[in-house]
């Protein structure tokens, strides 16, 4: 069976699970489900190869706020394998304190972080390694990958081999229909690129998982089915809110001083990495409870900076110099959000409009933590910190991380999915992807996306 040739050839009733989207979330969910013999259908807008016309037609967006006009649209790839077609492969698990506002904890996710590392063919040590640094700070590197996994290539067999996973390419889910009591999805509409449409009815016991990306998951739940007022799962007007990125401030500070400031080296099986400093628990609480990752980039001394010249003399050559790149957390704000725009994509789904500002509550904790780092090395007479004010207050870049738009929570009034990633009220509808992140931490999201997706697979098969 494998790849289904067209919408008319589809027999949707034979699958246990229907998955919308073939990115890291959809593919790893299908991977874990199929290993347990569960049959899945993946429905994907894109084709096996990237196609610019599809990309443009389906991701055009109106943008307000920080990060740039094309930012969100360019970071949501519509092809088999999803955005992994362009991702950088950087990985780190979230920290224990990052889960404070979530209904689940790091221990709930720990076993699945290891499953995620296995799927990405990375050593599990990336999930446990960290080392002490200066008082108040920890050393926790990002795993970097050159030649990051392209899920479309990795899961090519879904297209070619007969197995429990079938794929329908070039087909977009355009709306979800609620039953009368709004506690089940009764059906969905599918649109094929040649214009063909089909309505699918979900049979008893069949479940639907949205794995359409941080934008796509919100888009499907925001869009009311014909004849209804409110999108499925948007009964409390929570879908699309809490939109978050990881604001990146590149070369925004410097750390110079004695050689003992050199970061430790992770064990060899960790693999390639960038050195990264984070606050410890107490410092995190003191500086505003947002995660601020400080990447140390070794550089040469700047000979025209008299402070650096002075310090290098003072430390008599026992001297190292680093630039600091910041990757930080935005507070989850209900006002940073995705809404529907008046225009539509070829499948008839309303296109999106974004409003997202990295405000003073994002930037102030970064200043605070850099000041604390500065005071720490100053009082220990080990070095000095430079803070480049103007970079920190300029428009940040992002990592291509679209988070928070269908947030996880116990309280349906302020969230969209519950701790099992099931949409509140709806018995047969689930969400996989960074849209469920309650908060974003500062780690790249995909390792966590895969951990959550494989945990969801176990939930769906009764194993978790």
């Amino acid at each position: 069976m494998a790849q289904i040739s067209s919408l008319s050839a589809l027999d949707a009733s034979k699958y246990d699970i229907l998955i919308v989207g073939s990115g890291p979330a959809g593919c790893s969910l299908a991977d874990r489900l199929s290993a347990k013999g569960v049959s899945c259908l993946i429905i994907e807008t894109g084709l096996a190869e990237y196609n610019q016309d599809i990309q443009t037609a389906y991701t055009a967006m109106d943008t307000r706020g920080h990060f740039g006009d094309q930012h969100w649209a360019q970071h949501w790839i519509r092809a088999f394998g999803g955005t992994s077609m362009v991702w950088g492969g950087w990985c780190a698990p979230l920290d224990e304190q990052d889960f404070e506002a979530w209904p689940i904890t790091l221990s709930d996710l720990r076993p699945y972080y290891d499953v995620a590392a296995d799927i990405l063919k990375l050593d599990r040590v990336i999930n446990s390694y960290e080392a002490a640094y200066l008082p108040g700070f920890r050393f926790k590197p990002f795993r970097t990958v050159y030649g990051a996994m392209r899920f479309g290539e990795e899961y090519q067999s879904y297209l070619t081999q007969t197995g429990p996973v079938d794929v329908l390419l070039g087909v977009t889910v355009s709306d979800l229909q609620p039953n009368e009591g709004r506690d089940r999805v009764s059906g969905l509409s599918l649109h094929q690129s040649d214009g063909t449409r089909r309505e699918i009815t979900l049979r008893e016991g069949q479940r639907l998982v949205l794995a359409a990306g941080g934008m796509g998951n919100a888009q499907l739940l925001l869009n009311p089915a014909p004849g209804t007022e409110t999108g499925v799962g948007n009964e409390t007007d929570q879908v699309g809110r809490y939109l978050m990125e990881h604001p990146h401030y590149i070369n925004t500070a410097a750390l110079v001083g004695r050689r003992r400031l050199m970061p430790p080296e992770p064990p060899a099986n960790f693999g390639d990495y960038v050195p990264n400093i984070l606050a410890d628990r107490a410092m995190h609480a003191k500086t505003g409870k947002l995660s601020v990752a400080m990447e140390l980039v070794e550089r040469e001394i700047n000979p025209v900076d008299r402070v650096e010249r002075y310090l290098s003399d003072k430390y008599d050559g026992d001297f190292v110099t680093y630039n600091i790149n910041i990757r930080s957390e935005m507070p989850a704000s209900a006002d940073n959000r995705v809404t529907l725009a008046p225009s539509r994509d070829p499948a008839g789904l309303p296109l999106l409009k974004t409003m997202c500002m990295a405000g003073s509550d994002t930037v102030r904790p970064i200043f605070d933590i850099l000041e604390e780092l500065g005071k720490t090395v100053l009082t220990r007479n080990e070095g000095r910190v430079f803070i480049h004010n103007d970079t920190l207050v300029s428009n940040p870049s992002g990592g291509g991380h679209t988070m928070g738009t269908t947030a996880m929570g116990d309280d349906a009034r302020i969230s969209v999915v519950n701790r099992d990633c099931r949409v509140h009220r709806y018995s047969n509808l689930y969400v996989a992807g960074s849209s469920v992140f309650t908060t974003g931490g500062s780690a790249n999201p995909t390792l966590t996306i895969i951990a959550l997706a494989t945990r969801l697979a176990d939930h769906l098969t009764g194993a978790a």
Partner: protein, 153 residues
């Protein structure tokens, strides 16, 4: 990874590394855009602290102050007080003194001229700004009280 000289020097350019899609921060300020709505004019402004973004101790500041301000190397630059070059910017950053600004230009192959705004500048955000420039300047303005400029010999 080591940065190019100017990145290290000015810490201004966005970089693309690993999973980051960086934008170039909109840092290039030119001496042309005199903003009208600045703070009230100040004739003499001598800041007590010269940390310039560094987290320093009082002792550091004393020791740095004692190092004094070196003069611009006039064998390398033709220096003109009260001159402001317009346009031709290749970089902009804050520098402690005009000699540090000149030294930055000297070490940058793209830079042939510099303009430095002294602490007398009426707009606080312009004070101690150093603009590195090339020969594609649009114009020059004489009698620009708060500026000093130099051209590589």
């Amino acid at each position: 990874m080591s940065l190019t000289r100017r990145e290290g020097l000015l810490a201004i350019a966005g970089i693309v590394a690993g999973g980051i899609v960086a934008n170039v921060s909109n840092f290039a300020v030119t001496s042309m855009d005199q903003d009208a709505s600045g703070p009230p004019p100040v004739t003499a402004f001598e800041p007590a602290s010269l940390g310039m973004g560094w987290v320093l101790s009082e002792a550091d500041l004393d020791e740095l102050g004692a190092l004094g301000t070196e003069a611009i190397d006039e064998t390398r630059f033709e220096v003109e007080e009260r001159l402001d070059y317009l346009g031709g910017d290749v970089g902009a950053f804050r520098a402690i003194s005009s000699s540090d600004c000149a030294a930055a230009c000297d070490s940058d192959p793209d830079c042939t001229r510099f303009t430095y705004a002294t602490t007398r500048h009426e707009t606080a955000s312009k004070r101690k700004m150093c603009w590195l420039k090339n020969d594609e300047i649009i114009d020059s303005r004489k009698d620009a009280g708060a500026y000093v400029s130099g051209r590589k010999r």
